[in-house]
């Protein structure tokens, strides 16, 4: 796996670059996960708000709900939930796709057709996943906040403008920037793990299923580990 990642960096920075395939992969990867990410983000924002409400009311701080929800979604819940869904959807599909290309010799066929399959398949998909996850997370954050706004409005009337101001006023760069940066790493993890599992898929059709499955499991574990590292590193860096 480490050698695979090293090879990724070696090949990614050498010509020839597969730009058109990269754009195509970005589109496919982004588009494929869009509806699922949107739906879960919306429900997440809505439910989170409704769940928080009783405790907040108990302490008489229900006015703080938008600020509270905003912070939790932007800093943690948005990135991690989106990344996990991304791992389930994209990690498995990359693993299965490359796995079946491996067992049906399509990867060999590319190689004899004057194409470096590592560049054409692995580099493009990994870069696309790295670039698209942050975009999806930003989108998911926005949708989740909208869900939360509706959640607030079930119990009281709050204008969208006011809700928005309450959320924004409570957010600093400290909340937003590290949260976005870590999603690049999450995306990279999903892409590279999916490719690794698929690229070295064992022969036979059950090998393909196994690749897809273990890609999701491994990517999800990596995401949690990276998340843990991200918290530590952010604190370190911010306190310098």
């Amino acid at each position: 796996m480490a050698r695979f990642t090293a090879r990724f960096f070696r090949e990614a920075f050498h010509p020839r670059y597969e730009f058109s395939e990269l754009i195509r992969q970005c589109f496919i990867i982004g588009y494929k996960s869009l509806s699922l990410v949107g739906l879960t983000a919306f429900i997440m924002g809505l439910v989170l708000t409704m769940q928080l409400r009783p405790s907040m009311v108990r302490y008489g701080v229900e006015a703080e709900i938008p600020a509270m929800v905003g912070i939790s979604i932007i800093r943690e819940i948005g990135p991690i939930i989106t990344a996990l869904i991304f791992a389930g959807k994209i990690g498995s599909s990359i693993g299965a796709e490359l796995g079946s290309m491996r067992v049906t010799e399509q990867i060999d066929a590319m190689e004899v057709s004057g194409t470096n399959p590592f560049k054409y398949l692995v580099v493009t998909r990994t870069v696309a996943a790295t670039l698209m996850l942050p975009v999806l997370v930003i989108l998911a954050d926005a949708i989740a906040l909208y869900g939360s706004y509706l959640g607030v409005n079930i119990y009281e009337i709050l204008s969208f403008k006011l809700f928005y101001t309450l959320v924004i006023d409570n957010l600093g760069y400290y909340d937003v920037i590290p949260a976005i940066i870590k999603t690049f790493f999450f995306g990279f993890a999903v892409g590279i793990v999916g490719c690794f599992k698929g690229y070295y898929s064992s022969k036979g059709t059950e090998g393909v299923g196994r690749s897809a499955n273990s890609a999701v499991v491994m990517a999800s574990v990596f995401i949690f580990i990276l998340d843990l590292l991200a918290v530590q590193i952010t604190e370190l860096v911010w306190n310098l």
Binding site: S100, A109, V112, S113, G114
Partner: protein, 245 residues
């Protein structure tokens, strides 16, 4: 000896996977314009042999000279140039199943010949498709085709570059005898029309009888015997006879 110019010369080729000795000092020469069939049992290392020739597998030792160049010594770039002249038909066809037939055929063209006009590409695609008799499938996906059709599309994909040498990995395996016959006819036709040299790997005796000028027998990792079909058929060696029953 043969006076024709050799296009593939294999000398003392060895390849092992762990303890599994697959090729053990294998020697073979393919001459220009000839159809050579390599016969061997399932699992005898036929696919390994052909993948060494095209550079997909690295041999442990030995020389593989293709059109005068030793394949294991080539760098990535030179290997690509050589591969443009050698067509490889995979045992499993290896059609890209996320692409239409047209895109499958365009892929090697666009990859090997960087500057080529779309009009020319379209023309060449239709030409090879007509050659294999499947012009109507141009916008279909590989999954919509039958096994025999897929084999023919895969053949078209390798022919589109007009290779000097064709390597066929079990072109008739898994097809019914009639479709198999059609593929054999196609192989013969290709050889006449494009003047290619062909190395066909198979365990299909019909293919060996009808499409070969010479047969090489791959037994226990060695080139056990070579000769025309009729000559081998009358051999008294039991290992050779085993193929003819």
């Amino acid at each position: 000896m043969d006076t024709r110019e050799p296009v593939i010369v294999i000398e003392d080729l060895c390849k092992t996977f762990g303890n599994n000795v697959v090729l053990d000092h294998f020697n073979l020469t393919l001459y220009r314009g000839e159809n050579l069939v390599v016969l061997g049992k399932s699992g005898s290392g036929k696919s390994v042999l052909i993948k060494c020739i095209i550079g997909l597998l690295r041999p442990d030792s030995g020389r593989i000279e293709v059109l005068g160049e030793n394949v294991p010594d080539l760098n990535y770039h030179d290997l690509d140039l050589l591969r443009a002249k050698v067509g490889f038909l995979f045992q499993s066809n290896a059609l890209y199943d996320s692409m239409t037939v047209r895109e499958n055929l365009e892929f090697p063209l666009r990859r090997h010949w960087l500057q080529v006009e779309q009009k020319e590409v379209d023309m060449m695609v239709m030409e090879v498709l007509e050659h294999v008799g499947l012009a109507h499938t141009v916008d279909m996906m590989p999954a919509e085709l039958s096994g025999g059709m897929r084999k023919r599309i895969a053949l078209a994909r390798t022919l589109i570059l007009k290779p000097a040498i064709m390597l066929y990995d079990e072109p008739t395996t898994g097809l019914d005898p009639i479709t198999g016959m059609e593929i054999i006819e196609l192989i013969k036709q290709v050889q006449q029309q494009y003047q290619t040299s062909a190395l066909v790997i198979s365990h299909d005796m019909v293919l060996a009888e009808t499409a070969s000028e010479r047969i090489a027998m791959l037994i226990e990792g060695k080139c056990y015997a070579t000769g025309p079909y009729a000559e081998l058929k009358t051999s008294t060696d039991p290992k050779i006879q085993a193929f003819f029953i």
